[in-house]
Symmetry: C2
Subunit: 145 residues, 2 copies
């Protein structure tokens, strides 16, 4: 999927202005990098992948990821003991995961009925932006052990 990167930059700019945060080049460099990445990544991987283009510190990567999280531009997963996994939120349509409780393997799947049921949910005091579903169980490989 092709995303208009100017849209994303605008959303972030608006967020920064509204919250009185500074529009630093590091923040936009990180945002742009994230939107070139496919699938899950962690802070370290993002940090390393940037070193050739724009030098940012790991601390700034973490700081910016938090801002992007609040701005709704990034999704955070905490699958297991490992590091937190992130992914861009705009243009990412799959939010359903099956997780093997033995080997930890994560797979994504789509399901229209589930999607519809969740997206039609409304709260009185909560404005929802996105969701993540984890179905736990045992994968075929592990059930044979």
């Amino acid at each position: 999927m092709k995303e208009e990167s100017s849209t994303i930059i605008n959303i972030f700019t608006e967020y920064l202005v509204r919250h009185k945060h500074r529009k630093t080049p590091e923040r936009f460099a990180i945002l742009e990098k994230i939107y070139t990445l496919e699938g899950h990544f962690d802070a370290e991987k993002l940090y390393e992948s940037m070193q050739n283009e724009y030098r940012v510190s790991l601390a700034t990567v973490y700081n910016t990821l938090d801002l992007l999280l609040e701005a709704g531009l990034v999704i955070k997963h905490q699958f297991d003991g490992l590091s937190a996994q992130y992914e861009k939120s705009i243009g990412a349509n799959i939010h359903n995961h099956s997780v093997c409780i033995v080997c930890g393997k994560v797979k994504e799947f789509t399901d229209k009925k589930i999607k519809k049921a969740i997206q039609s949910k409304e709260f009185a005091n909560f404005q929802s932006t996105h969701y993540s579903l984890y179905i736990y169980g045992v994968c075929k490989k592990c059930s044979k052990k």
Copy 2:
């Protein structure tokens, strides 16, 4: 909700036997403690709450939580940077959470339509045991800031 604790113990015993693990008193003490706790707890809290009754090390708590996870008797949540949260799985019916991406507040809710949609999902190579749903957004308090 009142749960027959002998049922839970039987499930764990069966699991241990089937996997050729030993039935140590520590493991059963931890299991019994967990089933007296309501709501979420982390490994440290569980460890501390046991010190008066039965002395187990934190390492054993972690080890046993892993076994209980595999046995399907405990559910693990990794909400945010903090420590992992656990809860008993039998007798715990609420699996849906709304999470504020600003303040991190987690609330649980029930929804029959969502529950039905998720529980009717079947996989070809995956035997599901339970699920957790997280709907992210901004709570009323944070949206006013």
